[in-house]
Chain length 348, copies 2
DNA sequence: CCTCCGGATTGAAAGGTTTCACAAATCTGG
DNA sequence: CCAGATTTGTGAAACCTTTCAATCCGGAGG
């Protein structure tokens, strides 16, 4: 029976208190926790009783301190409100659950595109001596990542392919993705195609655009057939804006199809079309990128380039754990191939 | 100059090594870190030089062990892929950044509706001695939460209002939300209204439905005017399914408006309407709930009940930090009032 | 009866930081 | 030049767990 003094704070019980209560030594309590087989059933029962009695909660800090590393993985995501990244994170959770045998946690950190926040999170994670860091960085070639890796915390870059060779990475072939998107549009008979995105900044988007050009070339169409509508970011609002600009073009030069750098932009574009009574796909065919859930759920379901999101996450965790356990680790760069999901927005 | 032996692992340097390199005692290094004012500029510079030289990284486990508590907050979210929760999380980040003076981290954990995962995360967080736990629980009245709070880890329940009084909570008045949604529909002349959601399970949804009934009553309309279309969950697919069932009803009993328990369901419904060439709002007016970004971005922008999502998150963190610092803490239950955002989906 | 063996248990060290009482050095003003 | 105050710096204890060599015990074999 627990007797609690009226005024006394019920101070958190440690293994020492448990040992005292059970009438055993500290080492035995530790054995019950870590090597139950080494302890006779009788004493084990006694110790376990004492633990529940005293509401014992293991102190992870002390464990870690002794062990040197924590049993935590972290994913520093670029944008927590973009469904693409939350799906990647879901894949990571699956892999962590599967691999960790129940003692591996995945924590999510949202940098929200802010380099300062990203740096702050990375610093704290390093201080926590996490098992490893998964990250979709604001800038994949920032030196910070390399430094962390060099200091001994494994880093896996997700959905970007960095230049250096200080860490593993998992990404998707964006040039190919752009290519299949535009090839599809060309096959549907389109010969003037808008490209909507901020391709001047993000490497990603540049690749997709390059793939688009390649598809045009393969069909014997020149690069002038790609009409650039440049946005500042890749949000729904950017898509709306681009749609208005597109609608404002004279019919003689107006594209009959649009390839959007991601689905958010495509959804914005779709909305503008609905407002302006432009029919999709009759007046304008639209292809998005990422195939987020809302792409299929749109009023006119969107054709989109699907990336293996959960697979991306799973693989990233596997690479990370491999790096953390292997002794002579060889950094790998895994590249997945996206696939086109054709829906109503391009099918006449 | 760093001399690195060819084969030697550059073992992580601790404060001890830094102290040795700078020719000072351990205590001084600690002072440089924690009370720079107590150290003369000259020695401080020497110590700092040694730190960068040796690539010193503070060991958070050891700090925590000494301090008793970590400087980490965690939000255990119910569904990482629902934009509503990611927005709540964004509000939490803002508050944590503002309050923490740079040394407070917010980690996100996604229980994905799985009680087992939720329990696992809670256990680990408690072991980590986090500053506090923010949680949108699968079951707000599960005993686990109370136990954790009783053992000394502050808990704030977000977007649910639990029965007990062992912790603070932040929520939104769902009855009122349902009421304004349906009042609006009634004002638009609708007299038979569908309610789409899984109201048998989630308290939340039950409240919204009750608000709907209240609005009907206030307009002199009986509860039979609310047509229940029950779903299993609150996903886009559920909305699509409900839409088909609704369209299948004979015109004599078919509602002219639908109040959806969340925006995902509303988007699914909207999509079915588009497929079946039902005009929104002429054939069917739709009100959603949550006002996620995609609600405004839909082909027919959705009227929706907006919850102060970021505010919810900010307040939750503030309550948590208050509880963690105050001595005699009084648990509070904060309830926000939602507001109706009227858009095209209900305006004829 | 003694020795040896294996299983069960113990005790102490280690891990890196913070804190705090204390010592040393420097300064203030008389 | 001294008493006292102030500024710097020190050393050891404490935080809680894990690990590992050492000890203890009962029993088997001789």
């Amino acid at each position: 029976m627990v007797v609690r003094e009226p005024g006394a704070e019920p101070r958190a019980a440690g293994m020492k208190e448990v040992a005292a209560a059970a009438g055993v030594s500290l080492g035995t309590v530790s054995n019950v926790l870590n090597r139950p087989g080494r302890v006779s059933p009788a004493t084990r029962a006694r110790v376990e009783a004492a633990m529940t009695e005293l509401r014992f909660v293991r102190n992870e800090s002390a464990r870690q301190l002794r062990a040197g590393r924590s049993r935590v993985l972290a994913y520093v995501m670029l944008d927590g409100s973009n469904p693409f990244f939350t799906d990647v994170a879901a894949g990571m959770e699956d892999a962590a659950d599967a691999a960790g045998e129940g003692d591996l946690s995945l924590f999510l950190c949202n940098s929200a595109h802010q380099p300062s926040r990203e740096a702050a999170y990375l610093g704290r994670l390093e201080q926590q001596r996490v098992q490893g860091v998964l990250i979709t960085p604001v800038d994949p070639d920032a030196p910070l990542l390399g430094e962390i890796a060099r200091r001994g915390t494994p880093v896996v870059v997700v959905d970007r392919t960095p230049e250096g060779t200080t860490h593993c990475s998992v990404a998707v072939d964006d040039v190919y993705g752009g290519e299949i998107a535009v090839r599809h549009l060309v096959e549907q008979g389109h010969e003037r195609i808008a490209f909507i995105g901020n391709h001047t900044s993000v490497g990603q988007v540049r690749d997709r655009r390059q793939g688009a050009l390649r598809a045009l070339a393969a069909a014997g169409l020149g690069p002038d057939r790609l009409v650039d509508l440049t946005t500042t970011a890749l949000t729904v609002a950017d898509g709306r804006g681009a749609g208005e600009r597109l609608a404002g073009l004279p019919a003689s030069v107006r594209p009959t199809a649009a390839f959007c750098a991601n689905d958010l932009v495509a959804l914005g574009l779709l909305q503008t079309c609905a407002n302006l009574r432009m029919s999709v796909p009759a007046d304008l065919a639209i292809v998005g990128y990422d195939d987020i859930e809302f792409a299929a759920a749109a009023a006119v379901p969107l054709t989109s380039v699907r990336q293996p999101r959960r697979r991306l996450g799973r693989t990233a965790v596997e690479l990370l754990l491999a790096e953390a356990s292997e002794t002579g680790h060889e950094h790998r760069k895994v590249v997945f191939t996206p696939e086109l999901v054709v829906r109503a927005s391009t099918l006449r």
